[in-house]
């Protein structure tokens, strides 16, 4: 490690460890949080049990049979919604407890039967008001009313005429908080009454009581309660790790830059003869360490507390679902930590950079609160039920990783491809953000944000065109383009071939790149690469065309060794269909325009113009070429062509930096696509 980075790291780490507030937030609080929370919850639960509430009341205006059935049903155990919950239930108390109290309304003056019988559909507002007034004045959570009270006596079942039917109306007052608690039980009792009555009728008619139930469904849960809980809860672990890391990174990030600026110690460091990026990197390491220590302390504390609680429950013979959480295990946690490490690095860097733009800790908190919200919001993708990892979501930093981790923890198969892509994306984002943050003090804006105000002032000056865009800014443009391509692809699915091929490229690839350069008043010759190339560069481009085709075909052929050829052919089918449709619409010129010329101009402007120039400013030429090539490949949303397109991207990136213009790369790109179209038309690819 660079001596200056090491010295700054040691200094800040020492100060962090001496700062009792930081120690409390990053170490003591995470360790004590869960034991205290769970202890508190247990105490509250015990207090709640020690103060039994009187059961809610239900009114019954029906025959004595209905009344008796409901009275008997009050002490039945609550119906369970699922077998898993039944398995997870604690042993029931042998003493039956009444779930509700029955109030017989037979002798009362309340006779709503006529009103209810006349209603066919939802109740009118006045009727609903009158009924609820009665229930509330008698403190009833719900009422069961028989419209035509008929004795449900067992009698032979004549087919003609049918025995009289009893209609029971359940009036449920959801304004009473306890009504939803007992409604399922009342329903279960009434359904039981219906089945018993039917069984009596069938029996009296010498018919088999099994007659109405030709199919009997039984359900057995094979997983233990612990296993079921683990499957359900394990996906929350990466989400938890991330949220903990973000919150843990905030305090040191604020203290180490905004805090130092506020305390007046930052200028001392800035005046020293060290590279300013070393100063930031030393501080970044401290933030990262603090975040990781807090996450590990949190997870250890959580595991320990749940383990202790599960152990105590096991000692009293309870199959505790908590054991499921404990059994998520160290490998899963380690996987989460390793895969989320680039995300934590990126968030730490972003937090530090935002803190660096603030003049005080209070201002830093204002900047960082939205960052936490954004991270948590994006991370919520991972808890959307049924959402599966996809290439488009893989490109979403944070969310893609959490989704891939969710699948890894829930299913026996590891989604290696998604994990690899999201990791590359996260590493790229982390590299850009660390690069951006490291340059924070290289500019006066970073050293003295009070002199050159950030925030809205910066936005107001956005069109002054004073500098070139950096990595994060152009990645934002790329993200817009990807979002447009993904969403627009769906909207345009039924459009004619010409629109389908050209509209997404012009609207979502070329337009954002051009708008960005226009809004920023950046020199388009530099930012978009729209600079006239020299004749020599065009000649180099022409010479490189066979190399591009060789790379594309060669790597494509090599890839057939490990890629499903059927899938590859299937992926090529829509393209072949487009080629055919364009041929019928306008022949070869239209095919070349839609599939070679327009894609080359649009994609090169975005990938070799905007992206490459911004990344070049932040990361230097090598990383800029590599990252822009990868993003170029990912833009095509075709995992099967990822490698050839990335290799092509490297070649085109090199050519663009060499010529300082996108046109030679566009020439190679268009030539490459044109030859592919020709090959498709001529059937050479077959």
């Amino acid at each position: 490690m660079n001596p200056a980075v090491r010295a700054i790291f040691a200094k800040d780490m020492r100060e962090l460890l001496r700062d009792r507030r930081a120690l409390f937030v990053n170490l003591v609080l995470p360790v004590l949080l869960y034991p205290l929370l769970i202890l508190f919850s247990v105490q509250v639960a015990q207090l709640s049990l020690a103060q039994p509430r009187p059961p809610p009341k239900i009114g019954v205006l029906a025959t004595p049979q209905v009344l008796t059935a409901l009275q008997a049903g009050a002490t039945l155990p609550k119906p369970k919604r699922s077998a898993r919950k039944q398995a997870a239930a604690l042993p029931t108390d042998p003493t039956p407890v009444a779930q509700y109290q029955v109030v017989d309304l037979t002798g009362s003056s309340w006779h709503p039967q006529a009103v209810l019988a006349s209603v066919d559909g939802p109740l009118t507002a006045p009727t609903r008001h009158n009924l609820s007034e009665f229930l509330r004045s008698h403190d009833l959570a719900l009422a069961v009313v028989a419209l035509d009270p008929v004795a449900l006596q067992p009698a032979p079942l004549p087919l003609h005429p049918l025995p009289p039917q009893t209609t029971l109306v359940v009036l449920q007052d959801d304004g009473n908080a306890r009504a939803p608690e007992i409604a399922p039980q009342v329903d279960a009792v009434l359904i039981g009454l219906r089945q018993t009555t039917l069984a009596h009728w069938l029996s009296a008619s010498h018919l088999d009581p099994r007659l109405p139930e030709p199919v009997v469904v039984r359900h057995h849960s094979l997983a233990t309660a612990a296993e079921a809980v683990r499957t359900q809860a394990a996906p929350m672990i990466p989400f938890l790790v991330l949220v903990l890391a973000v919150t843990a990174a905030m305090y040191p990030a604020i203290g180490l830059l905004a805090g130092e600026r506020e305390a007046g110690t930052l200028e001392t460091l800035l005046s020293l003869p060290i590279r300013r990026r070393d100063l930031v990197l030393g501080k970044l390491l401290v933030v990262l360490c603090a975040a990781l220590v807090a996450v590990i302390a949190n997870l250890l504390s959580l595991s320990g507390t749940l383990g202790l609680l599960a152990g105590q429950l096991a000692a009293v013979g309870t199959d505790s679902p908590l054991a499921g959480l404990v059994s998520v295990g160290a490998p899963a946690l380690l996987l989460c930590l390793v895969l989320l490490l680039p995300v934590v690095v990126a968030i730490s860097a972003a937090a530090l950079a935002l803190s660096g733009f603030a003049q005080s800790t209070k201002e830093a908190q204002t900047y960082l609160t939205p960052l936490i919200l954004v991270v948590v919001f994006v991370a919520m993708v991972a808890v959307v039920p049924g959402l599966q990892p996809s290439l488009a979501l893989d490109l979403l930093p944070i969310g893609g990783t959490l989704l891939a981790l969710r699948q890894a923890l829930q299913t026996p198969e590891m989604p290696w491809m998604h994990i690899a892509i999201t990791t590359v994306v996260n590493l790229a984002v982390a590299a850009v953000l660390v690069g951006w943050t490291a340059q924070l003090f290289d500019t006066e804006r970073g050293r003295y944000p009070g002199l050159v105000r950030a925030g809205w002032g910066r936005f107001a000056r956005f069109r002054r065109g004073q500098s070139l865009p950096g990595g994060p800014e152009v990645l934002g443009v790329y993200a817009l383009a990807v979002a447009g391509m993904v969403l627009g692809g769906g909207w345009l699915a039924d459009a004619p071939a010409v629109v389908l091929t050209m509209a997404p490229l012009l609207l979502f690839v070329l337009l954002p790149a051009w708008l960005h350069s226009w809004l920023g008043a950046y020199p388009q010759a530099v930012v978009l690469g729209w600079r006239a190339p020299s004749g020599r560069d065009l000649l180099v481009a022409l010479a490189l065309l066979p190399v591009a085709l060789g790379l594309s075909f060669g790597l494509g052929t090599l890839q057939e060794g490990w890629v499903d050829v059927g899938a590859l052919q299937a992926a090529g089918e829509p393209v072949a269909r487009l080629v055919a449709q364009l041929a019928s619409a306008g022949g070869l010129p239209l095919q070349l325009l839609c599939l070679a010329v327009v894609p080359a101009i649009c994609e090169e402007t975005l990938c070799r113009g905007t992206l490459l120039s911004g990344l070049h400013k932040s990361l230097g030429p090598k990383w800029a070429i590599a990252l822009s090539a990868l993003l170029f490949a990912l833009l095509h949303q075709s995992p099967l062509r990822l490698l050839p397109q990335a290799a092509l991207g490297v070649l085109l990136g090199w050519l663009t930096l060499r010529s300082r213009s996108v046109w030679p790369a566009a020439l190679v790109h268009a030539g490459h696509n044109a030859l592919l179209v020709a090959a498709e038309v001529q059937g050479w690819l077959k």
């Binding site: 001596p3 200056a4 010295a7 700054i8 200094k11 020492r14 100060e15 001496r18 700062d19 130092e260 305390a263 007046g264 110690t265 200028e267 001392t268 800035l270 005046s271 020293l272 003869p273 060290i274 590279r275 006066e444 050293r447 003295y448 002199l451 050159v452 002032g457 107001a460 000056r461």
Partner: protein, 243 residues
């Protein structure tokens, strides 16, 4: 020693538009002590920050010992010690730890740092406070540690921007005495102050800044003409402030 040529620095103020904080300063300053004075907002701090390499000139150059403030970056900053009202010390460290860190960041060997401390500790009276937390020191003690910090790597240029601001009379006198001890060591000290007596106590040369330009550069003796030089300073700066 210090060469400044065609120095310009402007800021964009949303209310006032472009503000020229430093407007075409040309200076050649040999070793010695130079008092820098001027009205509030005259551009003194901006000039000193430019010389310290903390701000970058819009145009013009600053060179110390042949090194350029922009081109040579950290090598340039190795030539100077900078102290201002916003260069404070970390409260949770001790002076010994802090000075060791400064030595480390200057690329000094720990043995060299120890050797320098042997010289600086008696010079600034730090023996009793070297292992106390800085948070527990008085403002005057902390400022003496800060002065020692600027001299740790024995730089040829010392920039002291209002080093007695916020200090009581006794502490300010301590600082002035400490600066006086640093004179005559072959280095250039730029001592910015609003107090004429301080300027007269530490410096023999005077640099007056008004509206980002040099209003006067010469000896204090010439300006004072055997007496108090404050009236002459007022006479020079008043037109600049009034306009």
């Amino acid at each position: 020693m210090l060469h400044i040529a065609g120095l310009h620095k402007s800021f964009f103020d949303p209310g006032r538009g472009e503000v020229k904080a430093v407007d075409g300063i040309e200076l050649q300053v040999p070793p010695g002590v130079v008092a820098v004075m001027g009205a509030n907002g005259a551009g003194k701090t901006t000039l000193l920050r430019l010389i310290a390499g903390l701000l970058e000139p819009d145009s013009g150059t600053i060179a110390v010992a042949g090194l350029d403030s922009v081109r040579d970056g950290d090598r340039f900053r190795a030539q100077l010690g900078y102290l201002s009202t916003s260069t404070k010390l970390p409260a949770l460290a001790t002076p010994r730890e802090f000075l060791a860190l400064i030595g480390q960041l200057h690329g000094l060997h720990p043995a060299a740092v120890a050797q320098r401390l042997e010289a600086l500790v008696p010079q600034f009276g730090l023996a009793d406070i070297l292992d106390q937390r800085i948070a527990t020191l008085s403002t005057g003690q902390a400022q003496r540690v800060n002065l020692a910090r600027t001299l740790l790597a024995d730089p040829p240029l010392l920039i002291l921007d209002e080093p007695t601001t916020g200090l009581d009379v006794l502490a300010a006198a301590e600082v002035v005495t400490a600066v006086q001890r640093c004179r005559d060591q072959g280095r250039l000290i730029l001592y910015c102050t609003h107090v004429p007596a301080e300027a007269q106590a530490v410096a023999d040369q005077l640099l007056l800044i008004g509206r980002g330009q040099v209003a006067y550069a010469g000896t204090i003796a010439d300006l004072a003409d055997g007496g108090d030089f404050a009236p002459a300073v007022h006479a020079i700066l008043r037109p600049a402030v009034a306009s």
